[in-house]
């Protein structure tokens, strides 16, 4: 794990997160999906830097941060969607907001379960790491396969 002085630590985190408001604003103003992705990636990168420079102790706030990132992404993509006249009805907007919040909570819950599993005393080793790599790659591949355009 990398170690750094508190000042350098804070400076590095600020440097990674500083462009986020600008990138987010650009994405919202231009309705540019890639800029929103970039903003979320920068926020995640900030968390990665924080964890890399921090201790080995599992961060119990990670599920909430994950849920918050999802909420930020959902609201951002909702903002850049073309307006549907039906969505101006409060009932429908409330329904959608509730769905988004529920999904964020569910995501945080799944994240918490993953964190509990990661904190267990189960010893890893190369086979488990290999299984993890294959699972992650397989998950991405399955998602790509399902998402491909059908004729």
């Amino acid at each position: 794990m990398l170690r750094a002085s508190p000042g350098v630590h804070r400076g590095l985190l600020l440097a990674v997160a500083a462009p986020v408001p600008v990138v987010l604003l650009v994405g919202l103003a231009l309705r540019w999906s890639a800029a929103l992705t970039g903003a979320i990636i920068l926020l995640g990168a900030q968390q990665a830097v924080r964890l890399a420079l921090g201790t080995d102790v599992l961060d119990e706030w990670a599920p909430l941060v994950g849920g918050a990132l999802l909420l930020c992404a959902e609201l951002a993509w909702w903002s850049i969607e073309p307006r549907v006249p039906a969505w101006s009805q409060p009932r429908l907007a409330l329904w959608r907001l509730t769905s988004v919040l529920l999904m964020c909570l569910l995501g945080a819950g799944v994240g918490a379960a993953m964190l509990v599993a990661a904190g267990s005393s189960l010893s890893g080793g190369v086979p488990l790491e290999l299984a993890g790599i294959l699972a992650a790659t397989g998950a991405v591949a399955i998602l790509a396969h399902v998402a491909r355009r059908s004729p």
Binding site: S33, A34, L36, T37, I40, I41, G44, Q47, A48, L51, A52, L58, D59, A62, P63, V65, G66, G67, L69, L70, A73, W77, E81, P82, R83, V84, P85, A86, W87, L92, S99, M103, C104, L106, G107, A108, V110, G111, A112, M114, L115, A118, G119, E129, G132, I133, A136, A139, V140, L143, A144, V146, A147, R148, R149, S150, P151
Partner: protein, 423 residues
């Protein structure tokens, strides 16, 4: 319906993938926890998405309309499943415009049926097929977009807007059927022609009592009979001059429509010859059916580039009846149409030429040579008109914005004063 990933799907997949890989590289499970909600949305979004069952139907309230007027298209959308976002685009051909939002974005509930009004403005004459509808729907998570096109094309004929004409061109010869053209002969009619002494067989009601009282013997009125005539509208479709949205062909079609409508209303028989790259003709006939035939033929009129030399002989004989009045609408740009008209005159046809002036559609070039060429071109056109007048063919220049009636009056004046020679 075809299915495609939205940018949001790519973004979420990227975020989940980057988070998982970062967790593996840095050995921090928290990064996988950060990526988990995005992966969860992907999982549920892809697992629960299904192609929406959207049915679309399009109806137009009328099949025929006049240039400049509106028709109402009604788009009916039905679905059995809720669709949170549905985009509908009615593909409109050039010549039709709509002020209504197009594409339009709606949301549909379970088993909902929605009707959308799309008023269409007929900007240009022509025959159109309206109704190719493109539909795009997104799933509830916004990860997948489903697209489909519906071929619901309905025919719509937009006729050229005609001009009101008070007086038409009078033919030199008429037919023997009743019509509205006053002939030069004497017979049963309305318009007074002359007086003559009573002859056995004359009707008592034709006696002119004043003349009889003055002369002391019976005198009767003679009248000009009203007869119909054959009119052939000769449309030159070899070439046109175009500037922006207007062209000489548009003017010619509008004039042809006006003339056909007025002559048919006057009980004359009207035919049409579109003489150009593509030959099209209608034999003379009368009645409302013939009017619609003529107007439908005009909708097919277009400039078709062709280098083949064509002469009048290729037209079937019955398209040009011998005593017909031939009204030619031509910009006189193509040598073939110029010669064809002179050929018609040489064959003894009663011909009048309305030159659809291309001058307003042509701008001279910037340099002196271009301006000189433009002036020479104008002089050549004047010489061409003079050659027509020499052989007794009235040629009148009709420009965009001028009333057609004024051009017809010039032709009438020429025909009144000119001495008609026969080949």
């Amino acid at each position: 319906m075809s299915r495609a990933a939205t940018p949001k799907l790519g973004a979420y997949a990227g975020l989940a993938g980057v988070g998982l890989l970062a967790a593996l590289v840095l050995g921090r499970a928290e990064l996988a926890v950060l990526a988990a909600p995005f992966a969860l949305v992907l999982f549920f979004g892809l697992a629960l998405s299904e192609a929406p069952d959207v049915r679309v139907d399009l109806e137009i309230d009328r099949e025929r309309q006049v240039e400049g007027e509106e028709v109402n298209a009604s788009l009916e959308v039905r679905t059995h499943l809720p669709v949170p976002r549905l985009e509908l685009l009615v593909s409109l051909p050039d010549g039709l415009e709509s002020d209504a939002p197009n594409p339009v974005l709606i949301a549909l509930d379970l088993d909902e049926r929605r009707e959308l009004e799309v008023p269409l403005r007929c900007e240009h004459w022509g025959a159109y097929l309206v109704g190719q509808v493109f539909v795009r729907a997104q799933d509830r998570f916004g990860l997948l977009a489903y697209e489909r096109s519906y071929d619901l094309r309905r025919p719509l004929k937009v006729y050229p807007r005609g001009e009101g004409l008070d007086k038409l061109l009078r033919p030199l010869q008429t037919l023997s059927f009743a019509g509205s053209q006053t002939t030069g002969t004497r017979g049963e009619g309305i318009e007074f022609a002359d007086l003559r002494p009573f002859a056995p067989g004359d009707r008592i009601r034709r006696i002119n009592w004043r003349a009889t009282a003055r002369r002391g013997e019976p005198w009767v009125n003679e009248t000009h009979p009203e007869r119909n005539t054959d009119v052939v509208i000769f449309l030159d479709t070899f070439a046109e001059a175009r500037s922006g949205a207007g062209s000489t062909l548009d003017l010619a079609v509008q004039a042809a429509g006006s003339l056909a409508a007025h002559y048919i209303r006057a009980k004359d028989r009207v035919g049409l010859v579109a003489f150009g790259g593509v030959l099209n003709w209608l034999t003379v006939s009368g009645g409302v059916t013939q009017l619609y035939r003529v107007l439908d033929s005009l909708l097919d009129a277009e400039i078709f580039l062709s280098y083949a030399w064509k002469e009048i002989e290729i037209l079937p004989r019955r398209t040009l009846p011998p005593h017909a009045l031939v009204v030619a609408l031509s910009p006189l740009l193509d040598e073939r149409s110029v010669r064809a008209l002179i050929d018609l005159r040489a064959r003894g046809f009663d011909l009048a030429v309305v030159e659809i002036s291309p001058v307003p559609f042509v701008e001279p070039g910037p340099d002196e040579l271009d301006k000189l060429a433009y002036r020479l071109w104008l002089l050549r056109r004047d010489a061409l008109r003079a050659s027509y007048l020499r052989v007794g063919v009235p040629v009148v220049e009709w420009r965009q914005g001028d009333p057609l009636q004024a051009a017809l009056e010039e032709v009438r004046t020429f025909r009144r004063h000119a001495r008609v020679t026969r080949a």
